[in-house]
């Protein structure tokens, strides 16, 4: 005979605690984070290009100034070298001070610079 008040209800419902966000949510989250990262990388690449341009132009603008200063110094050293050569070779007849060893037109920089 059944007990008074009937049988207890059969416990058929599964007891599963919440297991966190679903796979779809995690996938969407990962894609979102990666997407934001790649967006920043792309932005950073564009920015890096502009920073490089800025640096290049800052140097381009300084070239004439530095070159002018260097030219004056090179010219001074060349003149000094010729004067020195003239002085040293004064006793040698037919010696041309400062004569280049090459006959071809066009600039060849001084092969060595004497720093005095």
């Amino acid at each position: 005979m059944p007990p008074a008040g009937g049988f207890e209800r059969v416990k058929y419902k599964r007891n599963l605690p919440l297991r966190g966000p679903s796979g779809v949510v995690i996938l969407a989250g990962v894609l979102g984070v990666c997407g934001y990262g790649f967006y920043r990388v792309g932005k950073g690449n564009l920015e890096k290009r502009e920073l490089g341009r800025e640096k290049a132009w800052s140097r381009i603008y300084l070239v004439p100034l530095l070159l002018a200063e260097g030219d004056r110094d090179t010219y001074r050293r060349e003149q000094a070298a010729v004067a020195r050569e003239k002085d040293i070779m004064a006793g040698v007849p037919g010696w041309e001070a400062g004569k280049k060893v090459y006959h071809k037109e066009g600039l060849r920089g001084p092969s060595r610079i004497v720093v005095l």
């Binding site: 932005k43 502009e50 640096k55 603008y61 070239v63 004439p64 200063e69 004056r72 050293r77």
Partner: protein, 156 residues
């Protein structure tokens, strides 16, 4: 002429150049500005001395011989000296701050936007010079005006 090295700072005589430029070349005082200040002033130098710089570079393109462009070179140096003097007169504080910042940050512009902006503002107000980077994409904020750049220093 002697071959031993004499440290000029310990000498009791003022340094005398043993081989000065020939008398026929007019004198020009060398600029002598250090690298951080030059980097800080580079874009204003390009804007202020454009004609002299271009003239000099065209002359150099003609002939690379150092003796060929001495005159144009003197003009370039005089113009640069003029600009640096003006900057020192008008914006010395901002100029110093920006140069010091560059010196501290490996001469990277992106690390020194704050002092750079105050210097640019001062330069525009006092001397009317603006920093422009040629070749920047049209219609976009130039890199030195971007408010929130990706590349910043790690420490603020």
């Amino acid at each position: 002429m002697s071959n031993t090295f004499h440290d000029p700072s310990t000498s009791d005589q003022p340094y005398k150049d043993p081989t000065p430029l020939p008398e026929s070349i007019p004198r020009v005082q060398e600029l002598g500005t250090t690298s951080a200040y030059l980097k800080s002033a580079a874009f204003f130098l390009g804007a202020h001395c454009k004609e002299f710089n271009e003239d000099f570079m065209l002359c150099k393109a003609e002939d690379r011989d150092p003796a060929h462009c001495l005159k144009e070179g003197r003009r370039v140096t005089r113009c640069a000296t003029d600009l640096i003097t003006k900057m020192r007169e008008n914006c010395l504080k901002d100029f110093d701050l920006h140069a010091a910042c560059l010196e501290k940050n490996n001469h990277e512009y992106y690390a020194c936007r704050k002092p750079e902006r105050s210097l640019n503002k001062c330069m525009f107000e006092k001397l009317g010079l603006t920093k422009t980077i040629p070749g920047s994409p049209e219609g976009k904020t130039p890199i030195h005006l971007v408010e929130k750049p990706v590349f910043t220093t790690i420490q603020k």
